[in-house]
Amino acid sequence: MADCREQETKKRGIVLYGQGLVLYVLVLSGTLLAAEGNRSERIFEAIPNPRITVTNMTGQILVRGWDKAQVHVAYSVMSPHVEVDTEVVPPNGPADKIHFATHLLDPLVSGKDQTADYSLDVPTGTCLEIRNPQGSVRIEKFQGDDASVESVGGAILVSDFTGHLFVRSIGGNIDVVRASGRVEAYSITGNLHFVSPTTSKLRGSTTSGRILFEGDFQDGGDYSLQDYSGDIEILCPSSASFELFAKTVRGKLQNEMPMTIRHRAATPISSANSLFGTHLTGKATVDLKSFSGTIRIRQR
């Protein structure tokens, strides 16, 4: 009798387990099918240096360079109330310009439902313009002519980029890794992080974020970093050759590099702490300014 009950219980368990498994498989398949249904992928023939613009609201945008004269785009939207418009100029033949724009079919859609994620492969020499106010942008291994990336709250990461780079995020962090060409990075509350740049002209500014520069300075290069209340930190090798102009009104100045000091004192008209000096032969020019943040120059 007890054996029968035990077998009955086992059977019920197996049936329940089987039903659960079937339900799980169905839900998983449904989710995958739904995700696939919102995903699109296209390839456009393009001239060698086309202009690509992406206007999005929120979501991730990933751009990579490749050596084909084609633009490959894959995008997915979170909700059926969001769609991606594609405008190709000219409509036939290799594209000079391609504009991707996310727009809401229902203006009441909000939050994550507005999300569209993009992945693009673009030709070398592309002129790139991205606006993604609430989303992040990542650019990787791309030899571009000109790239402009703007966000309001999203993080921006650019690595191995060649060309003129302009990045701005009001509240997001900006990371620029191994960039060459002219670099301009601006934020208000976000941090700026420059790693091993081989650029000869770099501008970076934030109000309350932190600025960290890790790398060497190019001969004849011009580097200008400005902060208001955040700290500025320079980590460079002992072989770095640069002329330093560092000023802060209320912050501290900490220098660990051996310098030939040209002038170090509070100026007669200001209480600013300043340091004007040369390291080695002073081939690059480094201008650092902060109002109340600390400026540190350290050897790597």
């Binding site: 203006p107 909000s110 939050g111 106010p133 609430q134 309001v152 709250g153 009001i170 509240g171 208000i188 509350t189 500014s205 109000t207 309350s208 400005q226 208001y228 209340s229 000023k247 802060t248 009104v249 209320r250 002038h263 100026t267 007669p268 008209i269 200001s270 209480s271 600013a272 300014k289 109002f291 109340s292």
Partner: protein, 208 residues
């Protein structure tokens, strides 16, 4: 026919009675038209033609400067127009050349800061107008911030708090040390950034 060689029509008309009659009619009409006196069409005809051309968009009616200004329909887009106006005013305030009294300088090192010191003091004199420009933009932002997504609104708010703090501190520094060139530079920068942030928020809101 016009543009064609003239030999075909007379040759064909000589052989074809129907076409010969048509050509004779056309010749008679042309001869009669030459004899007609030149009559000026009535003003009603001209006004009808003009009205049809205007309706077809062939040309626009001459308008006064005020009419042209009204055609821009600015009142329907007050925020971008106000933002643009504020940017123009701010740009003028920041870049307009002023006459500064030259100061005697003793060395190259002190020459530039001395001039900047006077500029700083001149700037303090303009700050009321500048503050008003920024206040107008801020009012427009406050009126519309409710339509922004919460995280976006928080980002804008944080950046404005940060910029306001820097404006306050720089203004205090300048009050204590009117010659502080770096404080002056930061104050200008903070105002410019605040205008940019507010414009970005208003532009984003308008673009939705």
């Amino acid at each position: 026919m016009e543009g064609e060689e003239g030999t075909f029509v007379p040759a064909h008309a000589a052989e074809c009675a129907f076409c010969r009659a048509i050509v004779a009619d056309l010749e008679a009409l042309r001869a009669a038209a030459v004899e007609l006196p030149l009559e000026e069409p009535s003003p009603a005809v001209w006004s009808q033609i003009r009205a049809q051309l205007v309706a077809a968009g062939a040309f626009t009616e001459k308008t006064s400067l005020w009419d042209w200004f009204r055609q821009l329909d600015l009142l329907r887009r007050p925020v971008p127009v106000a933002t643009f106006a504020c940017m123009v005013i701010l740009g003028s305030l920041l870049t307009a050349p002023r006459n500064y009294p030259e100061q005697e300088t003793t060395s190259a090192v002190t020459a530039l800061p001395a001039r900047t010191a006077v500029q700083s003091m001149a700037f303090v004199g303009d700050s009321a107008a500048l503050e008003q420009v920024v206040r107008q933009l801020e009012e427009a932002f406050r009126a519309r911030e409710g339509s922004l997504a919460p995280d976006l609104k928080a980002t804008y708010e944080n950046s404005l708090v940060s910029l306001d703090a820097s404006i306050r501190e720089c203004s205090d520094s300048l009050r204590r040390e009117p010659g502080n060139s770096l404080a002056h530079e930061y104050l200008l920068g903070a105002y410019s950034q605040k205008v940019e942030v507010l414009s970005s928020a208003l532009e984003f809101d308008a673009g939705r």
